[in-house]
């Protein structure tokens, strides 16, 4: 294992986030906090509690998941797309490192950045809303698993994408709707039976449900189902990345 190389890529990516701290860290934290203020404290105070949890507290896990997802995807996709676009990828390809090490550098950095954003949102939320965490170990596990899985997904997107517009479309047009319809703002039980079934095809439901369970012990689907679904998605992404590397797709002529 070539630690100098991995650390060079990792530090490069983290330094980039640091330089653009406004976009990569502050922006998602601020915009998510607006949700707490509007939906949590303002509107939420007029709403009843769900399964014994106040509405403001109920939406926190979903909101954290939502920004974790979008941040992981955009960090990782941009991280690998930009060198492809500018041509500086030549240096990474010519370096004495394996694809796995390249992946560790880029995906590790992207996942770290989105984890920091997720944790900052949790800390900031505490200023507005009272919440507790029943299963801290599972909470951290869900955070890491999600950050890594969706950073991998973002990495794939960054390799497949043909332009900057495509990089933005996927998080905006696919992930945000899935997240909104994924039970962030409501419990699945509140939906009519038909829509409950439809919802089960939305992968984000399993993330939000499992994550919320680690906070309050309540969930829409069983915790085992949640963990299995994330793992399945993780394995799927790993297989695709492995295929990309094996063929040099979009990386080498």
């Amino acid at each position: 294992m070539n630690f100098n190389s991995i650390s060079a890529i990792y530090s490069f990516e983290v330094a980039r986030a640091w330089r653009t701290i406004g976009q990569t860290i502050a922006a998602p934290v601020v915009s998510t906090c607006l949700y707490f203020i509007v939906f949590g404290t303002a509107i939420g105070s007029r709403m009843g509690s769900i399964e014994g949890v106040s509405y403001a507290a109920f939406i926190i896990p979903g909101l954290v998941m939502m920004s974790l997802l979008t941040q992981s995807i955009s960090n990782a996709s941009f991280g690998i797309f930009f060198p492809r676009f500018s041509g500086t990828i030549f240096e990474v390809l010519s370096a004495p490192i394996s694809y796995f090490e390249i992946l560790l550098g880029y995906v590790g950095a992207a996942a770290s950045k989105s984890l920091i954003v997720g944790l900052l949102i949790l800390i900031t939320a505490r200023l507005f809303v009272d919440y507790n965490i029943q299963h801290p170990f599972w909470m951290i596990t869900f955070l890491i698993l999600t950050a890594v899985t969706f950073s991998l997904f973002g990495f794939i997107l960054g390799i497949v994408a043909n332009g900057f517009d495509q990089l933005q479309v996927v998080p905006l047009m696919i992930i945000t709707p899935l997240a909104f319809l994924g039970g962030t703002f409501y419990s699945i039980d509140m939906l009519p039976p038909f829509w409950q079934t439809v919802t089960l095809f939305n992968p984000v439901v399993y993330l939000v449900s499992g994550f919320r369970w680690s906070f309050y012990g309540i969930s829409d689907v069983s915790i085992l189902t949640s963990v299995s679904m994330i793992s399945l998605f993780l394995v799927g992404c790993v297989l695709i990345v492995w295929q990309i590397f094996a063929t040099g797709y979009r990386l080498k002529d």
Binding site: F12, S86, G87, S94, P96, I97
Partner: protein, 306 residues
């Protein structure tokens, strides 16, 4: 001893275009090798394959005795590449981008070495400048610094003199010679015979994806070093005067141009003597110019010879 050994290397791009056709080439340890060829000859493709940026379609390449595919770590850690395109991270500083390259190639931090390289390339006072604020020539230097940051044994310079002024070119050639002194093997590509002649020990000529000839510079220059002296005559001649027969002169342009071909490498070109004789014979000319055979003509010549 060969430091790079290329055997039956071919490359067909996904478009179906055959960029390299059965290349065989040995680069000797410690030499400066110039790859000379016109646009689209396949120079960059060849270098990119050796460095791991492009996949070969068939054939085998060893760098420092290591197969570039099955032993890519050992092979690539010996190689530094200065690409043809000025691709840099616009928002990085000179200092951070050069240190990044060193780390990327698996070397532990060594600020003293990076400083030495930057000073050598007159980049030290620019070390905190963002790359986008540098001129093209400066960016070229940064790319050289990046390639040297990890102390390669083999250095590729893909068209190093493109967009570079006289002074930087001179500095660059001095640096290349110093590197060779310290044992680094240097392979550079160029369009210009003069450049290959100035710097290289050996020259390989590539055209249409094929290596046409590989020779010691001095030998190749003898073959390529033909020059022409053209005299625009005041009055047209019908035939070359008999007593100038030894000079191998030709009449062109309806007898208004007298063309003398000579070997520019020879001490005694015979030009002064020829002009004196013409003067004595009262053959007047309006103008004269001398030219080297163009790359194009040389290729035609070389291909014919084979």
């Amino acid at each position: 001893m060969s430091i790079i050994s290329i055997k039956q290397l071919s490359k067909t791009y996904a478009s179906g275009f055959k960029a390299l056709k059965n290349i065989n080439l040995e680069i000797r340890a410690g030499e400066i090798f110039a790859l000379l060829g016109p646009n689209g000859a396949g120079k960059t493709t060849l270098i990119s394959i050796i460095c791991g940026i492009v996949s070969p379609s068939s054939g085998e390449v060893l760098a420092g005795g290591h197969n570039i595919i099955s032993e890519y770590r050992a092979a690539r850690s010996k190689i530094g590449l200065v690409p043809q395109e000025l691709t840099t991270d616009a928002f990085e500083s000179v200092w951070s981008t050069v240190n990044f390259s060193r780390g990327l190639f698996g070397k532990p931090k060594d600020h003293a070495h990076v400083e030495k390289v930057l000073r050598q390339l007159s980049l030290w006072d620019k070390k905190d400048t963002r790359l986008r604020a540098l001129s093209g020539g400066m960016k070229r230097r940064v790319l050289i610094a990046k390639a040297l940051s990890h102390e390669p044994e083999i250095l590729f310079l893909d068209e190093p003199s493109a967009g570079v002024d006289v002074e930087l070119r001179r500095d660059m050639w001095n640096m290349v010679r110093e590197l060779r002194e310290s044992g680094v093997t240097i392979i550079l590509t160029t369009h210009y015979i003069e450049e290959a002649e100035e710097i290289a020990d050996r020259i390989g000529v590539i055209n249409g994806g094929e290596i046409i000839i590989v020779e010691e510079k001095t030998e190749l220059m003898q073959k390529l070093g033909k020059k022409e002296l053209r005299l625009q005559l005041k009055t047209a001649m019908t035939k070359v005067p008999d007593d100038l027969f030894d000079y191998n002169l030709n009449l062109e342009a309806d007898g208004t141009e007298l063309v003398y071909s000579f070997d520019a490498k020879q001490e005694h070109t015979g030009i002064a003597e020829l002009l004196r004789k013409l003067y004595k014979k009262d053959i007047d000319f309006k103008d004269l110019n001398s030219s080297k055979s163009s790359l194009e003509e040389i290729f035609v010549e070389l291909v014919k010879e084979q």
